[in-house]
C-alpha cells in the first residue's frame, strides 16, 4: 500500500534521513522504532506532505506522492495523529472530531460523517461524555484519544501515528496501544512511529529500526523483540525488566 524507496530528507543542506526504504501492506501494523533524533518524525513529515525537501520515491496505492500538498495527501487516504497530539484546544471535542472529517464533508455528505462520529464516540465513550467541553481541558490520555479519533474521522486507508505514547502514564500508554491493536484488527492499516520500542513491537506485525537517519534493521516484530542489538540499544532491557516486575 505504502512504498518508500531511497528516501532522503533534508533540512536546508543537512540530510536527516538517508536512503530509507520501507513498505506497508494492506492491513498491516508496522512500527518504526528509534531513539531521539533518529529521523522518525521527519520521515512521517515527508509521507504526509508536511516536509517538502525530500528526494526518492514515496508511493501510496500505486500513486507517487512527490509534489503533493498535505491536504491532497489527506484526500488520498493518509491521516496522521501528530506528535504531541496537537489537538485544537480552544475548540470543543465535537468540533475537533468534525475537523478530522474536514476533507470529506463535500464528498461524503453530513450523514456519513455523522455515522463515523457515532463510531468514534463508541470507541472512545469518554469523548462522547465530554463532547461539548473544550479540548484543552482534557487530560493527556483523553487528548490522545481525541487525536486518534480525529484522524479516524478522515476514514483513512492508512493511519499514521507519531509517538502516541509521548508524555503519558504507563497505564494510559497500555490502553492507547490496545486501542491501536483493536483498530488494526478491525482492518485499518497502521504505520506507527515510537520510541517506546517494546510496547510498539508487541502489537506490530513487522518493524523497522531507524538509527541516525538510516534503516539499520528490519524484520518481523517477534524477531526484533528478541534481537540482541535491538534489546540493548532500544528496548533498554534492564529497564524493561524493572517495569515488568513493577507491573506484576
Amino acid at each position: 500500500m505504502l512504498k518508500i524507496k531511497n528516501l532522503r530528507c533534508c533540512y536546508g543542506n543537512i540530510a536527516v534521513v538517508h536512503t530509507v526504504s520501507l513498505s506497508v501492506r494492506q492491513g498491516e501494523l508496522i512500527s518504526i522504532i528509534g531513539a531521539n533524533g533518529a529521523g522518525k518524525s521527519t520521515l512521517l513529515g515527508a509521507v504526509c506532505g508536511l516536509l517538502k525537501n525530500w528526494s526518492g520515491d514515496i508511493e501510496f496505492k500505486g500513486r507517487a506522492l512527490k509534489g503533493m500538498s498535505a491536504p491532497a495527501i489527506v484526500r488520498q487516504g493518509i491521516s496522521m495523529v501528530p506528535e504531541g497530539r496537537q489537538i485544537f484546544s480552544p475548540l470543543s471535542v465535537m468540533d475537533n472530531l468534525k475537523m478530522g472529517a474536514y476533507t470529506r464533508f463535500k464528498k461524503d455528505g453530513k450523514h456519513r460523517v455523522a455515522e463515523d462520529l457515532d463510531m468514534v464516540m463508541q470507541m472512545f465513550p469518554i469523548l462522547k461524555e465530554r463532547s461539548a467541553q473544550l479540548a484543552g481541558t482534557l487530560s493527556g490520555g483523553e487528548q490522545q484519544m481525541l487525536a486518534i479519533g480525529r484522524a479516524l474521522m478522515a476514514r483513512p486507508a492508512l493511519l499514521v501515528l507519531d509517538e502516541p505514547s509521548m508524555g503519558l502514564a504507563p497505564k494510559i500508554v497500555e490502553m492507547i496501544f490496545s486501542t491501536i491493536q483493536d483498530l488494526s484488527h478491525s482492518g485499518v492499516t497502521i504505520l506507527l512511529v515510537e520510541q517506546n520500542a517494546r510496547a510498539a513491537l508487541k502489537i506490530s506485525d513487522r518493524g523497522y529500526v531507524l538509527e541516525t537517519g538510516k534503516m539499520v534493521l528490519q524484520g518481523s516484530a517477534d524477531e526484533l523483540l528478541v534481537d540482541d542489538d535491538v534489546k540493548r540499544a532500544y528496548l533498554g532491557k534492564d529497564y524493561g525488566d524493572f517495569l515488568d516486575e513493577r507491573n506484576q
Binding site: 498535505a70 491536504p71 496537537q86 475537523m99 478530522g100 478522515a154
Partner: protein, 318 residues
Amino acid sequence: MAIKNNYIRIEYLVFLCAVSAFGFVTENTYYLQIMTFIGINTLLGLGLNMLMGYTGQVSLGHAAFYGIGAYTTAILSGTYGINPWLSLVCAVAAAVFIAFIVGLPTLRLSGYYLAMGTLGFGMIVNIVIREWAAVTGGASGFVGIPVLEAGPLIFMSGANYYFLVWGIVFAAMIVCRRLLASRTGRALRAIHDGEKTAVAIGINTHLLKLEIFIFAAALGAVAGFLYAHFVLFISPESFGFMFSIKIVTMVVIGGMASVWGALLGATVLTLLPEVLHGFAEYEMIIFGTVLMVVMIFMPQGLTRGIMDMIRTAGRART
C-alpha cells in the same frame, strides 16, 4: 443544541428590537449620526474580527479596503455619474480584486511579518489616494458624492440612513454567524490554534486565509461605501494608518473571536471620543487610560469580560 440555537436567536431578536426602537424613538440627528457611525465601524470590526479574532491573522491595513470602497464609489458615482448602487457592486469588486492580488503573497506570511506586509499595503493605498489628485481630489478631499436613493426613499435624513446601515450590519452579523458555525468556521479557528496541524488535517490553509481576507475586504468596502454616501465628503486622513490601528483596537477591546465583540468595540471606540469632548485637552489621556484599564482587567475584551462578570454574579447569588 436546539435550546442553544433558540438562545442565539433571542439574542439577535433583542438586538434587532433595541436598534429599531432607537431608530424610531430618537429624533435628535446628532445621536442618529453617532449611531450610524457605530454601525459603519461595526462592519469594519466584523470583517477584521473574522480575519484577526478567529483566524489569527493580524492585518494593520484594514482601513485601505475601507478607503478603496469609499473612493471607488465616490469616483464612479460622483465623477462619472454612475448609479450609486451599481458603484457599490464595483466598490466591492475592486476591494475583492485588490485583496486577492495583495493576499496571494502576503498571506504566505504570518505573525509580525503579515502585520508588516499589510501595514505597508495600507500605506501604499493611502499614498495613492493622496497623490492621485486628478482622480481622487488628493489631500484636499473628494467633494460631490451623490446622495443614495431607492425609489421614493432618500437616504439622507438621519433615521433613513440609520436603518440602512444597521440593516446591513444585522445582515453581516448573521452571515458571519452562519459562516462561523459551519465547517469553514471550525477550520478558521483551527488555523488560529495551529496552522501546521490544520494543514496536516487536510485544510488548504493558504486558500482559506485568502478567502477570509477577501471576505473582510469586501465588508470593509461596503463600510467605505456607506461612509462615503453618508458624509458626502471624503479625504485621505479617514483611511490612514491610524484608522487601521483603530479598527484593530475595536476588535481587541470588544473581544476577539466574538461577533458581539465587533459591535461592542465599535460602540466604545466611536462613543468614547464623543463623550470625552468635554474634557478638551485631557481627552486623549482619558481615552488611553480607559483602553489600558479594559485591557488590564478584561484581557479577553469587553464581551468575555462582561460575560464572566455576569457568570460570577450569578454564581454568587446561588
